[in-house]
Structures are given as C-alpha cells and as structure tokens.
Symmetry: C2
Subunit: 324 residues, 2 copies
C-alpha cells in the first residue's frame, strides 16, 4: 500500500522539476518563487490519494494533481494583490517582492500552465476533467468576489457565509478528490461522493480555522491568536455573534467593531468574552462536527477496496484533529 508520505514525496519531486517557462524571467521567476514557498500540498495530495483508491498507477495523476496546486497558488498570487497582503507563508508576497503588474501577469500565466498540466489525462476523460475544473475555477473566483463584497456589509447571514467559504475554499478540495477518482476510472457515484466529501471537509476546515484563530492554543497555533478579531474579519464566529447579540452585549460588540484606536490585547479579550457569553464556541464546534461528519459519511460510502481506503481515512482524520 502506498502511504501518504510516499505520495507527497513523489509530488514534491515533480513540483521541483517544473520551471513553468524561461523567458522573460520576470514572468516565470515569481511562479517558481510562490510554488517554492512550501505549503502542505494538501490539494494535490488529495488527488493522488483518491487515485490510489482505485489504481496502483497513481503516478498518472501526478501532472493533473499539480494543476490543482498551481491553480491554488495562482489564486493566492492574485488574492494577495486584492487584499494588499504583505506576507504569504512568512515571505514577501509576489506584488511586494516584484510589483502588482508582475503579480497580475505571472498569475495569468500560472492559470494557463494549470491547463497545460491538466492535459496529461487520457483522451476519453479530458473534456470531463476540464469542464469540472472550469466550473470549480469560476466558483473559486465567485467566492473571492463574495468575500470582498462582505467586507463592507454588516448583515451577512450564516447561510451567505457558508456559501462563500464553500465557493472560495471548499469546491477546490472537492474537485481535487473527484479528479483523482475520474483519472483512476472510478464510477460516477464514487466521484460524486469524493467531491461531496471534499466540499464538506473543506467547509469544516475553514470553520476550524475561524475557531482556532480565537480559541487555538497559542503554543501550537503558530500565529497571533485573535488576529481575525483585531482586523474585524467577518468569520463564522463574528457573524454568529452579530446575529445573536442583544442589549448591552450588542452595544459592546458594536463599540469594539467601530473603534479605530484600541489596545489589541484588550479587544481580543473583550470580544472573546462576548463570544463566550453567546456560546459561540460550542455553536461553532457543533457546526464543524456537522460538516466533518457529513464528509466522513461520504468517504465511508465511496465504493472502493476497504484496505485502500485506510490511508485516505487516516490522513483526513489527522487533518480533522489538527490544533494549529
């Protein structure tokens, strides 16, 4: 049985081999740069693990799997311009290290190169793979636009937020698993379940990110606890709090949200206290469990050799239990 570690190693080797193009260097160096800022390679690994459910020849999914990773990093390069983000994985973003024009144009070429990598699929499956990739890619852009729209709105509902994170982050995880199945010859029911599993897990992961930003163990979390609170980021927790707060709690929450000058630690403590009062933590945990349960249920129902499912299930369990 191939382990996730073996799949990851094969993937890393392939990624390191890819130069994306040579000349002009201003166009291709930023692509090599962002692709080298490690990351967990979660999405392409999902593709390989889904393929390995049905075939020992999972290597034939290596290039299409990379397409998902290149696409993901393309969205990061463009999102970082839009969000004026100075850092990505602790290093300067492309538009900071070079400039915004180079980040726009390098990103454009990355999207083209993702389609190049997708072409390494058997001819009878290529239309289906590219159509599903197109649908997914457009949805990811829709999610980013909704996220930007939400920045200036205070009446975002839970349903709207869940739909936004589904589009912005989860459908790509669903597609990554689905494509692994398609390439390995899984039937329609199995590829649908793989997709549903990825989408539900993805929503669960994003909600967990939201939760850990406030309730994570600072020793394990790696970044400042409360960063989202300081930035008034519209997370699941804040949206629930805005929907539930009444009376003096509502007044105090609004006071912190409109405050332009404040002590950061004090704001984090005060807003966390409001979340505690409103029982936002357990509410969020319940929602996370709901999505993870749905995701695992889909994975259980995927028709495949039970022995082959062990590594995928084990890997997803690890992700679900992470506290950082």
């Amino acid at each position: 049985m191939t382990t996730p570690e073996q799949l990851l190693q094969a993937l890393q080797q392939e990624i390191e081999k890819n130069t994306y193009g040579a000349h002009p260097v201003e166009l291709y160096e930023p692509i090599r740069y962002i692709m080298s800022l490690s990351g967990k390679r979660l999405r392409p690994l999902m593709t390989l693990m889904a393929a390995a459910l049905y075939t020992d020849d999972w290597r034939k999914a290596l290039k299409p799997a990379q397409a998902v990773e290149v696409f993901h990093n393309f969205t990061l390069m463009h999102d970082d311009i839009m969000d004026c983000a100075p850092l990505r994985r602790g290093q300067p973003t492309v538009h900071e290290k070079w400039n915004a024009n180079i980040a726009i144009l390098s990103g454009d070429v990355m999207l083209v190169r993702a389609y190049d990598l997708l072409l390494d699929v058997e001819s009878d499956r290529i239309k289906r793979v590219i159509k599903r990739f197109n649908d997914t890619a457009a949805e990811v852009c829709e999610g980013q636009q909704l996220d930007m729209n939400f920045e200036t709105r205070w009446d975002v509902t839970e349903a709207e937020y869940l739909n936004m994170i589904r589009l912005k982050t989860s459908v790509l995880l669903g597609f990554a698993l689905e494509m692994g199945g398609i390439i390995a010859g899984a039937n329609q029911q199995a590829t649908s379940l793989l997709y549903e599993a990825g989408v539900n897990m993805g929503i669960g992961f994003q909600l967990k990110d939201d939760l850990l930003d406030v309730y994570g163990d600072p020793a394990k979390f790696g970044k400042q606890v409360g960063g989202d609170i300081i930035a008034n980021k519209k997370t699941f927790l804040l949206i629930e709090a805005l929907e539930r707060a009444e009376g003096t709690t509502k007044t105090e929450l609004n006071r912190w949200l409109i405050a332009e000058e404040f002590d950061k630690e004090e704001k984090v403590q005060a807003v966390t206290q409001i979340y505690n009062t409103l029982e936002i933590r357990s509410l969020t945990q319940a929602k996370i469990s709901e999505y993870f349960d749905k995701g695992f249920d889909c994975l259980e129902r995927v028709e495949a050799d039970p022995a082959r499912k062990v590594p995928l299930l084990g890997f997803v369990h690890q992700l679900v239990e992470r506290e950082y």
Copy 2:
C-alpha cells in the same frame, strides 16, 4: 459561398447570447461590458473564415471562435490595469468604471470562460486545440511582459521589437486561423500555413498601426495623429530612428525624448521631420510589405478549394489596405 458579413452576423448573435455567469453580478457585469464594446471581432472571424475553407458547417467553430475573442478581451482588461489606461474603445476601462480588484478577478473568470468555449470541439481534436491555445496564451503574456520591460530601455533592437509584437499581438491571429483549420479537419500542412499566415499578417498590421500613428490621414485615422510620438512610445519607427540617428539628428531626437515640458504639436512635427530625414517611412513600408507578402504567400500555398479561398483572401486584402 458564405460571405464574411454572414459569418460576422452569426458570430455577433452568439456573442450577444453569452452572459458568462450570473452571481455575483460584480464579477460578470464587467465581462458583458467589455465584450459589448464592439471591436471588429477580427480574430474570431478569422477562425470562422478558416473553417469555411473546408466545410459548410462552419457553425461548429462558433464557440471556439468566441474563445479567441473572450481571451483577447481578457488580455485587454488586464493590460489596461497594467498600463493605467483610462479608456478602451472610447469608453471607461473596467478598472476605472469599477476598480482594479474587480478588473483582476473578472479577467481571471474570462480566461476560465474562454476554456469553456474551447471545449466545444470534437473529442479527438480537443487536446491539440487546447495545447495550441495554451502555448499561444503564454506567448501573449510573454509579449506583454517584454513590452513592459521595453518601457525603461533605450537600446531595444529591431529584432527584439519584432519578436515582442509577434508574441503580444500576432500569434493569437495565427492561432485563430489555425484553429479554424483544425476544427474543419484541414491537414497538418494547411493548419501550419494558416498559422504562419496569421502571424505574418499580424506583424504587418501592428507595424502599419505604428506607421499610421505618424503618417495616417487625420481625416481617416480617427485618433490624434502623433499620439505615440507624444508618449515616447517605443514603436518600430522610434526604434529604427534611434538605431539610425547620428550627429545633430541624434542630439535633437534625444532632446525631444527627454523633454518633460513641450508643445505637443511642435514635438510631433519635429520628430516626424527627423523620421523623414532618416527615411523611416519608406523603411517601415518596406518591412510591412515584407510581412504582408509572406502572409499572402502562406495563404496562397494553403491547400483548399480555390473558390473557397476567395472570401478569405478578399477580406485580408481589405485589412491590408485600410488607412485607419
């Protein structure tokens, strides 16, 4: 025989039907907007005319032809951000009418939608079409990057300039013709010649744009004659002048290029006079003829029913003779 006018009409109807997507409206409205700013639909028309060389069923090329037009407009949307251009075809650019973030993200979706339109090709040809489209799309981005690099250089050679315009503007015209042939079942030799014809014609058209900006008839040209001279735009004419000027001519040319305050009309007259002295006009005309001749030679050699070639040749002759 189908006339270019009939092809254009069918194309316009198809383009007007496409909505690109619904929600969120901020993402899709800019796509409909830029696609509605007319333009001559030159590239998709080339695809249809190349298809009509080999089949009466040119309608099967309507969607892939649109992919070329959507891709072209995607490059315009992103280039306009990079060039800080306020107007496009006399109307506000997308980043001016909305903002740069929306222009980045709407452009990204346009590129995805171009691939959607490309999928409407018979399965046995789809890999070839998409591979050729990918190569072309990456080259167009390379050309745009080279064009930006040239802005801060004064030693651009003729060969570098010709390579830049080949990439930035001509390969897409080549691909448009080539794809029409591929879809209609032309043989490899014919599709190669169609591609070469498009590339050579495209270089000729760009050089003619450069020439008309200085020597065009103001009554026919439609925009200010000398706009490139005022902006110090590195056109074929300026690059040749920089290579050829010596002595006092060189001193005077450099004086106009570094001048920060000047009378526009005076600069246009003075630089035009320098071009006249250096015989840049006839030199450029000779280069244009060289590319147009190569292009026509390729079209002549394309194996197809001579009667079917009449509309395509007539159309290209019209383009070659335009004075605006």
